[in-house]
Amino acid sequence: MNINCEKIRDKLADFISDRIDPKEDATLIEHLEQCPECNKYYNELKADDQALSDFADSMRPILARIETNINEELETEKVKTIPIGKNKTLRLAVAAVILIGIIFTLNQFGIILDGTSTAWAKVSQIILEVRTITFNISIGKGPNVFCTASDRKFKQKLPSGVEAIFDYDKSQMLLLNPNDKTAMNIELSGLPIMPSNLFGNLKSTIEVLKECPDTIVKKLGKKEINNKEAAGIHAHLDRSIDVKIWYSTKDNIPILITAEKMIGQTNVIFSDFNFDVIADESVFNMDIPENYTEIESAKMDLKNLTEQDLTEGLKAWASLMENRFPEKLDLAIIQEHSKVIEQKLNEKGMSDIEKALIVIKIMRSLMFIGQLEVRWYYFGDNAKLGDTTTAIFWYQPEMSKRYRVIYGDLHIADIDPENLPKIP
């Protein structure tokens, strides 16, 4: 790079924003053609320009939300203050984490079920008014799972025949395995008030979407699904919800709902909806059938999550996985490793109740993370279980100047910000 190049580069930044004397353009362009290094630099600046532009664009939904919130506040005429650090998205995310938590407990028994779905505009009212619904759900490349739901109850049946019934009012889950005629109860406590279950969540998600005008909605055109003409809508809200809804052009009833990257990178598909086909709620009966044998019952508390839950969950995971910690801390990891987890649990020759307790431990640790309202840092790859010197997780509790740091042997220390571990 010669002196001329330096001068040219000084001008390239101006050139990027179209703020340069047109007379100088020719000199610049000529130089760029001759000098590969400056040309590369120019392309990098252009790429930065585009990235900055995209970055700013990615914030548009936030701006829309800000405007909506302000307008709402102005309307209520109680313009004083609004609490800082409590925004809708976060609360929604926490609720979603808890919900997925419930669903993943079922997963431990080989039952695959998950998701949140949404509909929009015309279809939303239909879903909000419906009392019971049946549908198929498939997660990633998983098989279709048949589900039946009302507001407060939920039931699913796997291809293997295993049935899980969840009763929100009783805070109870019943698993029925027709193959060996066994039944298992899981007692749940600390359930969120809303949403109540998958279907309740579907409804509340729709309500949230209806309330949030910053939901970006696009039409997807029309296509034929199951011999029915369907119209599509693509709705997404920030990065939290991204769904495509295909509904019948005849009666606006949803036919197919896909939720992108619902769990980690996994997509979820809802299909074959039937509305109000269940005459009564006997289908959700929680009594154990006479010819079934009840095996031990388990308990799962969904509240009072503490740091100890995190360390216990990490320990439970590492104990299963040759002392390695999970590569990331989100609920999708259970889904992604469900086969390995199942295999490892079986290898240990544990009772069903022991298996359930281990999965509940792992889940609680992930739920603790989901509820943290502060930044956290995780480097589980750095250490194996028992490593006393390598930090794997840290966060700064609210109002605290120091960080809580968890090491590979799962001891916890309070560390000043300047003494935090180096990022590997």
């Binding site: 580069r9 000084d10 930044a13 101006d14 990027i16 924003s17 703020r19 630099y41 990098e44 600046l45 930065d48 320009d49 990235a51 900055l52 532009s53 995209d54 970055f55 700013a56 990615s58 914030m59 936030i62 701006l63 939300r65 800000i66 405007e67 919130n69 302000i70 307008n71 506040e73 102005l74 309307e75 313009v79 004083k80 203050t81 609004i82 609490p83 800082i84 650090g85 925004n87 976060l90 990065r239 930044r375 956290w376 840092y377 995780y378 109002m399 100047k401 910000p417 300047e418 935090l420 990022i423």
Partner: protein, 178 residues
Amino acid sequence: MDRSNNEKPVFSKVNVDRFAYSKLVKDYSARIFAICFSMLSSRDDAEDVTQQVFLKGFTDINQLRDLDKFGLWITQIAKHMCLDFLRRRKLNKMALKRIATEDVKYESMYDQDKYSRLRSALMQLTEEYRLPLMLYYFDGQSTKNIAESLEITVATAQTRLSRARKKLRQLLSTKRGA
């Protein structure tokens, strides 16, 4: 009586209803968000403070003498409220600066979204460069708006913007090499 001559009569005080104010919010939300984001280094905090800024603006709108100065006025409120917000974290200036830098660095490590590298580099820029750059991209790609928000000339805004681009490039290429 020079001073009283400069003051506009009471009846010409700015008085906007909520509909007119909504329009102002729409026009200036990107600018205020850019300022808050730049000063607070956190998207969520910027969102919350931006809302507070505009709500305070509405409450105090009758203190504004000239509606043409709304942009400048609301910018001042934003800067004060950001500083207030930072102060409320009960940290002195030194600690604040240090922690803010570290937070950003670590945030970028776990928050592996598409823009994490860019955001991290932005947050490493000094305020002098970060603010013009963010204002430019958030607020209509206009150097005139930067100049107005920062109370500098358009030429100065352009110079800062160009320098900011180069600094940013430097940070991004260093990070890649690391």
